[in-house]
Amino acid sequence: MLFNSIDFAIFLPIVFALFWTVGRHSAKMQNWILLVASYIFYGFWDWRFLGLLAFSSAFDYFVGAELYRQTDKRKRKMFFWASVAVNLTLLGFFKYYNFFADSFVNAFSFFGQELNLGSLKVLLPVGISFYTFQSMSYAFDIYRRELEPVKDIVPFMTFVAFFPHMVAGPIQRASFFLPQFLTHKQFSYDLAAKGLKIMLFGFFMKVAIADRLALYVDAVYGNVDMHNGWSYMMATLFFAFQIYGDFAGYSLIAIGCAWLFGFHMSPNFNRPYFSTSFRQFWGRWHISLSTWFKDYLYIPLGGNRGTKARTYGNLFTTFVVSGLWHGANWTFVVWGAIHGAFQILERVAEELKFPKIPRLLAIPLVFAGVCLAWVFFRANTVQDAFQIVGGIFTNLQGKPHIGDIGIFAFSLMGILMLFLIEFVQEYYPDVNLLNHRQAPVRYATMVAMLAWIITLGVFDGSQFIYFQF
């Protein structure tokens, strides 16, 4: 069930009504309603994987209980690694089996050897990358004695399966999010109104901007041989805003939806394209994932506590793994490696005391570097990605592909509108039309945004990009 679908438009009000009427007396009833609703939501995607979701949740619930109960260090470590092993095995099998099998076979054939491992038609359960990480964070936080386990399995399973964020995040830490499932929620008009407004903006970003840009991006990236460097540049620029609109839009819808039920989620994006460094970019882009990798991979690897070489190695490893998390394709690995390289270069520049780049120059430079990396994220193959990067610098004969002028013009309008909104949010944060003190301004803004979505949005039910992860 997509957020931008009629099915969800019917589903959400029903769950909302049940939650605040039938569930008004107890947290337990509220959790049951959300749990059932979340499993129905997930079942719309593929009911066959409901068992996997239930198993993953239940396993980590019992591991968490044991981790807390055990005092023996060895046994605690054993349970901890059991959680890691089971979750990563599930993720590895469903998401990466064919990728590693094919890569292994290709490596052998490179040396002239034929190998037949047989490929399994393994379906990718939607959201597995997100809910396994969320579930693992519960075990990790208990292991670190940062969290006590919940006594009742229902709140825990609801925390893992909570439908607003289950298929594409934001990943919520157990220590922050799980306690909210133990308290009885009282309806708050302010929170619900805020939630709806945030959802509206999320839909605007997704349906009216991201999906419109996708039409052009798909035309160029899907036919790399037919285009020149200008088209590659245009498509890459469009993709930078497409993925931002898509993913940030989804996150806003998830956060806003959670607010409807009285739950607070941590923000996931903070106007990343205004970053003045790559380090800052990762503090503003997919914040829930970058902090997850920082806390559960980078720091356990040693973080920056060792030598410089060790620090750079840890950084690079973290980003490469993060790239692989995004998808079973070498393009994502290269994408992660590029960002790892950017992080290292920045630290080296700091060490060598390079002069600080003025903000007005730093922002477009970082944006250009991020766009270069996006080429690998979006391209179908590493080969295509290199062709695109090479073409941007060497194949600038002819005119850029415009395609349908209407689509192109509206795509540019969408980017301009998004940039304008974000510029105001970044530099004039007090200007907030959706929450303006004057009611006519608020209503006019909401109606204008809805009208824009209906008028220029793409309604073919296109999926959020991050659903494939």
Partner: protein
């Protein structure tokens, strides 16, 4: 909670008002378009009463010169084709036309692989602005999505993504052909590519898509039931020869079984090897369209008032 629902109601009410007012303005723009895509579609659905109607995609719109057809056959002609469209659009136009009259002749341009993929109902969304005023096209547009009928209550949604082509004719006219071109869209440019001696080989055969075939069969049946004389044509493409795709084989079968003359130009070396006839590999320029139309009409003319099948189905020279 009452306050929340009240506020939601206010927003939706305001949106409904904006929707209605915008709809009035957009409908006015649609109905008074001096030329362009919406002028042509509106004419096809509401005013077209010509003896001969050409229906097709961009190849139909660009390759068939209405004036030549009129002069040769001594019959009026309207080119109801539209770029980027396929069988769902053809069906919708058919319903719009047949709701008012039955043309004497329909020339249906089918691309060489049209029946091998799922019909693209989403592309037929260009007809959304006409949904409310033309009930006969609603069943076709409702195929786009389960709740299309609900979304179509909104006039803003009906005009989704159409603004550029709706407003353009008010500033620049003739880009989709002048009104005097009677639906034909002349392309003046010439392609510069020279053929390097060999044609692209026949592509591998792809199975027919049952839904596409069913839609095509319906188009043919409905016209024939109303006594319209039909002609099926497969336009030429530059640089590639296609003589036996699954679609073309099905057209041949239809031609035999339903007594409909079929003209396959997609393997006709008199056209597919002549770059000077093309604006791009898929579409003829003005010169090419005139020659192609003249060639086609010379063959159609003796058959217009006859029930006999054409003697030469494939025009390979």
């Amino acid at each position: 909670m009452r306050k929340l629902f009240t506020k939601i109601g206010i927003v939706l009410a305001l949106l409904a008002v904006v929707d209605v007012l915008a709809g009035v303005a957009l409908d006015w723009l649609r109905d008074h378009s001096p030329d362009g895509r919406y002028y042509k579609t509106k004419y096809s659905l509401e005013a077209c009463n010509e003896d001969v109607v050409v229906i097709g995609s961009s190849r139909g719109e660009i390759n068939y010169v209405s004036q030549i057809i009129e002069d040769s056959l001594g019959m009026t002609c309207w080119n109801a084709s539209r770029g980027g469209q396929g069988t769902p659009y053809f069906r919708a136009i058919q319903e719009g036309v047949l709701a008012r009259y039955a043309p004497k002749v329909v020339i249906l341009n089918i691309d060489d692989n049209d029946l091998e993929t799922r019909p693209n109902y989403e592309h037929a969304g260009v007809l959304r602005p006409f949904y409310q005023s033309h009930p006969e096209i609603r069943p076709i547009l409702d195929e786009t999505s389960t709740f299309e009928w609900l979304l179509m209550k909104s006039r803003l949604y009906a005009y989704n993504s159409s603004y550029y082509y709706l407003i353009r004719p008010y500033f620049i006219q003739g880009l989709d052909g002048k009104t005097s071109d009677k639906g034909w869209k002349p392309r003046l440019e010439k392609m510069s590519t020279e053929i390097n001696g060999t044609l692209e080989p026949e592509p591998p055969k792809v199975p027919l898509h049952p839904e596409a075939v069913a839609l095509f069969d319906t188009i043919v049946s409905k016209f024939q039931q109303r006594g319209t004389r039909m002609f099926l044509v497969v336009s030429p493409n530059f640089g590639r020869t296609v003589g036996s795709s699954s679609t073309i084989e099905y057209l041949r079968k239809t031609s035999r079984e339903r007594n409909i003359p079929l003209f396959v130009y997609s393997n006709d070396t008199a056209f597919i090897t002549k770059p000077e006839y093309y604006v791009d590999p898929d579409h003829l320029n003005v010169e090419g369209a005139q020659i192609f139309t003249q060639h086609l009409i010379r063959q159609i003319k003796p058959l217009v008032h006859s029930n006999q099948l054409s003697q030469h189905v494939d025009t390979v020279h």
